[in-house]
């Protein structure tokens, strides 16, 4: 059996690590970087470039350079999140043949799975060069708050890249594992993970070598890119007022703005002011128009205040669900590049009442955790084990579009739960079981995972025919649902496979390119 590598497939940057003896080691790419930008460009001759090479030319090739595919993966095109994203992206979003959000490059359309597969394939090559052997299996991390469709799509991206994704691991859990494996003490940890596109907060206990997640909350639409977009909006707004030109319509200008905003955000983490200098940004009636402006940390913090505020409620929810007060948390781990921003760190201190741990590399710890988990699965690490949870409620749709929860959010997995339901009409011949994932009380606002039918019901008055529905979620997060009519024992069951995303044939076809 070959090695299993750990891949942190980030919104902005990706990282790959492997277990070397007892220690997780991050692997450098060919350019010497320990992380690789999650960027893919289509240049002429149908050639695709990935990583640093893609980033280097993004300003001159904005419509054919895709970044942040993680914000698209597993999502439907017709959704609020995609609509608001599309405004600020220089590349074109379209509805794919399956209704998912896809990207259009020239005449061609690509799924986010395919795009992420290019990044994963690069990480695979990086690992193979270092190890001197073929790599076929990986553990890939995802935000803890990712739903079933997003997880499945991430696995599919791996499959396209020629990797068997043995486990999809939650990023905060991975970070806690990498941290805790070297800090023997039993303790209660909070992992605050703010990356390029997503926010997760997880609370775990480490006790007798068992890493148990108590609660996990977050926001899959809150990350560094949103902070950048606030600055972009500020600059574009001022520019339009001054010159009557809407920079958001100009893909090259938009890309330059994005680059400048990101750089300013990073610089303001250590300086109180910085310059934004974009000569020849647009063409006006009297000639070229430039943008030159100083921006202060205070101004930046004002622009992003609502985003900073949005970090708090998930943290409070997590503490409440874990039956913890902030004082009960022994350590707060910061994960993700955005936790370098002083205003973010101040919020963490305000919520948890303590300074976060500085001993953790925010950019690499998740990949290291994935590599550590490969050691648990491979048998090299006997002393530790992970007990994770399912982050969203699972249930079925009942009368009045209500969501009847069978497995509540934050239930430890694997798990089995059952609930008995009754028919509502006289002499119903079948029940339609629609399985949903999500935390809204209205079923239609949640994500439908699948649907099946239990037929041949015995006749009976509405309310007297009882059906027991059983949900089993295994340790990999795969859900199996069965329904049994209690009198006759008749049963119907289904294993939930993604009802959107790519088909196995699609995946096979795309994988042939590698």
């Amino acid at each position: 059996m070959g090695r299993i590598i750990g891949i942190d497939l980030g919104t902005t940057n990706s990282c790959v690590a492997v277990l070397d003896g007892d220690d997780a080691t991050v692997i450098h790419n060919q350019e010497g970087g320990r992380t690789t930008p999650s960027m893919v460009s289509w240049i002429s001759d149908d050639k695709v470039i990935v990583g640093v090479a893609s980033k280097r030319q993004m300003v001159t090739n904005p419509q054919r350079t895709v970044y942040g595919a993680k914000r698209l993966i597993g999502r439907r095109f017709d959704s609020k999140e995609i609509r608001s994203l599309a405004r600020m992206l220089p590349y074109l979003l379209v509805a794919g043949p399956n209704g998912d959000a896809w990207v259009q490059i020239g005449e061609d359309q690509y799924s986010p799975e395919e795009i992420s597969a290019h990044v994963m394939a690069k990480m695979k090559v990086v690992a193979e060069d270092y190890l001197g052997e073929r790599v076929e299996e990986a553990i890939v991390t995802v935000p803890a708050y990712f739903d079933d469709a997003q997880r499945q799509a991430t696995k599919d991206a791996g499959a396209i890249a020629g990797l068997d994704v043995r486990s999809v691991l939650n990023e905060p859990t991975a970070a806690a594992l990498a941290y805790g494996v070297h800090h023997e003490r039993d303790q209660r940890l909070a992992v605050f993970d703010l990356g390029g596109g997503t926010f997760d907060i997880s609370i775990l206990t480490i006790e007798a070598g068992v890493f148990e997640v108590l609660a996990t909350y977050g926001d899959t639409n809150l990350g560094g890119d949103d902070f950048d977009n606030r600055v972009i909006s500020l600059l574009a707004g001022e520019f339009e007022d001054a010159h009557g030109i809407d920079l958001l319509q100009d893909q090259v200008a938009l890309q330059r703005l994005k680059e400048a905003s990101e750089r300013a955000k990073v610089e303001l983490s250590s300086a109180m002011t910085t310059d934004i200098n974009l000569p020849f940004l647009a063409a006006g009636p009297e000639g070229p128009v430039h943008l030159q402006r100083e921006i202060s940390r205070g101004e930046f913090e004002t622009q992003v205040k609502d985003l900073l505020d949005a970090l708090e409620p998930p943290c409070r929810e997590a503490l409440r669900h874990a039956h913890c007060m902030p004082e009960d948390i022994d350590q707060v781990l910061l994960v993700g590049g955005m936790t370098r921003v002083p205003a973010v760190q101040e919020r963490v201190v305000a919520i948890f009442g303590k300074q976060p741990s500085k001993g953790v590399n925010q950019d690499e710890i998740v990949a290291m955790g994935a590599a550590t988990q490969s050691g648990i699965m491979g048998g090299e690490l006997q002393e530790v084990i992970l007990l994770d949870v399912t982050p969203h409620s699972l249930g079925i749709r009942v009368a009045n579009n209500k969501m009847s929860v069978v497995i509540p959010a934050n239930t430890t997995i694997p798990t089995r739960e059952e609930k008995v339901f009754a028919t509502t009409e006289d002499n119903q011949t079948y029940v339609g079981i629609e399985v949903y994932q999500g935390d809204s009380e209205r079923a239609s606002e949640n994500r439908r995972l699948g649907r099946f039918i239990l037929g041949d019901l015995p006749p009976g008055r509405g309310g007297s025919v009882r059906v027991r529905v059983s949900f089993t979620m295994d340790a990999d997060g795969i859900l199996a649902v069965s329904a049994t009519e209690l009198l006759s024992g008749r049963e119907s069951k289904v294993t939930i496979e993604a009802s959107s995303g790519l088909s196995p044939d699609d995946i096979k076809r795309l994988a042939a390119n590698y």
Binding site: G209, E383, R397, P414, T423, T424, G463
Partner: protein
């Protein structure tokens, strides 16, 4: 430490897991975790953590599908026992395992009826009450937008709320039970049964928290209203002498505050 699965073949692992599964199915909750039935929360948790390190499905992640499925079933069995035994009320129920919960519910409801009003009625928690694994029917699955059952009479509503409160009592959810009973008592001052049960629920709550004198006082109040209430006389008989080890409430356990250690806890503490 636990068993090392790493070196064992698939067939050896399968055999070992099948043995474990049989052993688990034959045992009660305590047996599944390798505990005596006087184990406390700490012991239950420690046993679960050890079992997790050995039997968690990730240990078998690289094995064939049949082995992984078997490992899932084994771990589910262990975890289910842990969930059942994590609270005082849960452990108490497990010890009395020859009296299934459904029957106890019937008996309590009958006792109330028999005391004053007539025919026995089966208690069923209504829709909206948090149900246990062997749940009850709330609304039905929607096939064509059917509406839930129409208007109920006020007395049926009251009886269902009472049954729900009694169910919460047996689950050990004393706060919710007291709340419900208090409201029912206030709305129906002429029906003494709600007062009786309210005193009983408060007494149980005090008993769980170790406040023996306060519990006794509540139970005695219940008896003045209804002298033959067998549940209360049984509860009084069960009241410990001062400082029993089992006297930490569910809510307190979750906050894991240190409770005054009683005589027995000092003997059993590691």
């Amino acid at each position: 430490m636990g068993v090392s699965w790493h070196e064992q073949s698939d067939s050896d692992v399968t055999a070992a897991l099948r043995d474990k599964q049989q052993q688990l199915e034959a045992a009660d909750g305590f047996g599944r975790l390798g505990l005596r039935n006087d184990a406390d929360t700490k012991a239950v948790r420690a046993a679960f953590l050890e079992a997790t390190k050995t039997y968690h499905p990730s240990r078998f992640a690289r094995r064939p599908e049949e082995v992984r499925d078997l490992a899932n079933e084994v771990f589910l069995c262990i975890k289910e026992a842990y969930v059942r035994l994590s609270s005082n009320a849960g452990r108490e129920r497990e010890r009395k395992k020859d009296r299934p919960m459904k029957d106890r519910l019937m008996i309590e409801a009958t006792a109330v009826r028999g005391a004053g009003s007539g025919r026995a009625r089966r208690a069923t928690p209504p829709a909206g009450v948090r149900t246990r694994a062997t749940g009850t029917p709330p609304g039905g699955p929607a096939t064509n937008g059917a509406q839930p059952p129409s208007t109920r009479s006020a007395s049926r509503d009251r009886e269902e709320r009472f049954a729900a409160a009694v169910a919460m009592l047996s689950h050990g959810d004393y706060d919710a039970a007291c709340d419900g009973l208090q409201k029912l008592g206030a709305e129906n001052p002429n029906l003494s049964k709600f007062q009786v049960y309210l005193h009983y629920a408060r007494g149980k709550r005090h008993a769980e928290a170790g406040a023996v004198a306060a519990a006794r006082a509540e139970f005695e109040q219940a008896l003045t209203l209804h002298p033959e209430f067998f549940l209360v006389t049984k509860a009084i008989a069960q009241l410990p002498e001062e400082g029993d080890a089992a006297a930490a409430g569910d809510q307190a356990e979750q906050g894991s505050e240190a409770k005054k250690p009683g005589l027995f806890s000092r003997l059993f503490r590691k």
